[in-house]
């Protein structure tokens, strides 16, 4: 079981780095999808099967398709000059410094923590459903309200004024 975890984790880290460093937007997104899929494998190995499936369906399957859709519409798939300028060592320096601090912090935290094995029990979809509608009911409702606001906003942006006149007699 462990070997599968290490394979999935390596793939996740490699593809995430590739996702950041590709200049072609579609290639970057493809790497991000691979990274999400490998995270889903990790979740499956932790016996969280339901969340693993949702990770694939929602993140890799729906949200990333929308990303690619927008990238295709805006036609920003090809590399542009502005981004080429950003990819020099100076730009990376500050970010790399702070990321390094975080990495050290993580290593120390892992080293000092009392590591407990993950509870070895399969979490069924039923348990997820029950806790969503009892313990986390408020969070679910708030998320629903947020999504509703998004839908109304999208509808408002997308709605067009109704044309009553003949198209040749249109004013403006």
């Amino acid at each position: 079981m462990n070997i599968f975890f290490y394979i999935a984790a390596t793939v996740a880290i490699t593809t995430t780095i590739l996702a950041i460093s590709r200049r072609n937007a579609i290639h970057a997104l493809l790497n991000l999808i691979l990274s999400l899929l490998s995270i889903s494998v990790v979740l499956y190995l932790l016996d969280a099967q339901f969340i693993a499936a949702l990770e694939v369906i929602i993140y890799a399957g729906a949200i990333m398709v929308l990303f690619i859709f927008v990238t295709m519409i805006l036609n920003i798939g090809l590399e542009n000059k502005q981004e080429k300028k950003w990819y020099n060592p100076r730009m990376w320096f500050v970010a790399a410094f702070f990321a390094g601090i975080l990495f050290l912090d993580l290593i120390l935290a892992v080293k000092n923590a009392q590591i407990q094995p993950v509870a070895a029990q399969v979490i069924h979809s039923k348990q997820v459903g029950i806790s969503m509608f009892t313990t986390y009911l408020l969070a679910v409702e708030i998320a629903a309200v947020l999504l509703m606001a998004g839908i109304i906003g999208a509808f408002h942006l997308g709605s067009q004024e109704k044309k009553v006149m003949h198209r040749f007699l249109e004013k403006k």
Binding site: I57, G61, A62, S125
Partner: protein, 314 residues
């Protein structure tokens, strides 16, 4: 050892059916259109399948110079891979399955949502206006129909109390789910046709407007992959309809369970082909309106009523 045999068997079976469907479709279409169809190569024209395969294998596999090469090569593979993976969850008999998963239906939904990439990336990587329009249409259409494809199955999940396809088949011993879940069946069937982008919903590749849509630039075996992928998709959706709504391998005992599933599957494959023979293609906006304004409310209503009745009966 036995398990490996089953895996190889399912793989060979799925690919054989998909290849054979080329001949089945052409013969059935010509039957309904009062023609003969391919009847020259071999007995009943069955050799036509072989001839077509040889032709596809030996055609020049051309990659256009303006295409995005790695993505262009990757795209057809994704389609076949995701569909073949989904065959793993279908129970062909009481103890005849590849993967007895607790998240069976979710596995299918995840794979079908990953299958969208094949078409979108194929169209994008071709770097061709027609392919691009086809890819745009495909992504919008498949995203839309995926939503209630999942919702329509939830009624079945609630009644069987499980995502596991083996449990769902067992739960149908008292009666097939087609009777209590008729609306779910209709929505799932229409969404399945749209998801495999078969006629009448083949708007992404509408050859009257878009040359061949997302696979305009493909040739040789890469085109063959898209071609076989379409037939694999039909087989998969038919097998799933048979499993989820028509009792799967359940049936009177004078025939083995596997044969019952095959009979039901081939019945729905026949309906898929009949749809192609009889229905015209809708306009693109009609397709989207029909999806969001008719099928989505229907699926939600079905979900609500099924839940209410189940709670009432408890």
């Amino acid at each position: 050892m036995n398990h490996i045999l089953i895996i190889v068997g399912v793989l060979v079976l799925a690919l054989t059916i998909a290849a054979g469907l080329i001949w089945v479709e052409r013969r059935l279409l010509s039957l309904w259109q009062d023609r003969l169809g391919p009847n020259r190569v071999g007995p009943l024209g069955l050799g036509q399948v072989l001839a077509d395969m040889i032709k596809l294998f030996f055609k020049e596999d051309w990659i256009p110079p303006f295409a995005d090469k790695p993505v262009f090569v990757l795209a057809p593979g994704i389609l076949v891979l995701t569909i073949l993976l989904t065959f793993a969850i279908i129970p062909f008999g009481p103890h005849f399955y590849v993967f007895n998963s607790n998240i069976g239906i979710l596995f299918f939904l995840g794979n079908s949502s990953l299958g969208v990439y094949s078409i979108v990336l194929g169209g994008w990587a071709s770097n061709n206006k027609y392919s691009m329009i086809g890819a745009m249409r495909a992504s919008a259409q498949m995203l839309t129909y995926e939503v209630f494809m999942g919702l329509s199955l939830m009624g079945v999940v609630m009644m069987a109390d499980s995502f596991n396809l083996n449990t769902i088949v067992e739960a149908q011993k008292g009666g097939w789910f087609i009777i209590p879940q008729f609306i779910g069946f209709v929505v799932f069937f229409i969404a399945g046709v749209a998801e495999t982008h078969r006629l009448p919903f083949d708007i992404p590749e509408a050859e009257g407007e878009l040359v061949a849509g997302y696979h305009s630039e493909y040739s040789g075996m890469k085109f063959g992959m898209f071609f076989v992928g379409e037939y694999l998709g039909i087989t998969l959706i038919s097998a799933l309809i048979a499993t989820l709504f028509f009792g799967g391998w359940l049936g009177p005992s004078f025939l083995p369970p596997f044969v019952w599933l095959m009979i039901k599957t081939f019945f729905f494959i026949g309906i898929f082909i009949l749809l192609r023979a009889s229905l015209p293609r809708p306009r693109y906006d009609q397709l989207m309106t029909f999806g969001w304004k008719v099928l989505l409310p229907l699926a939600l209503l079905n979900l609500l009523i099924t839940g209410a009745i189940l709670i009432f009966l408890k």
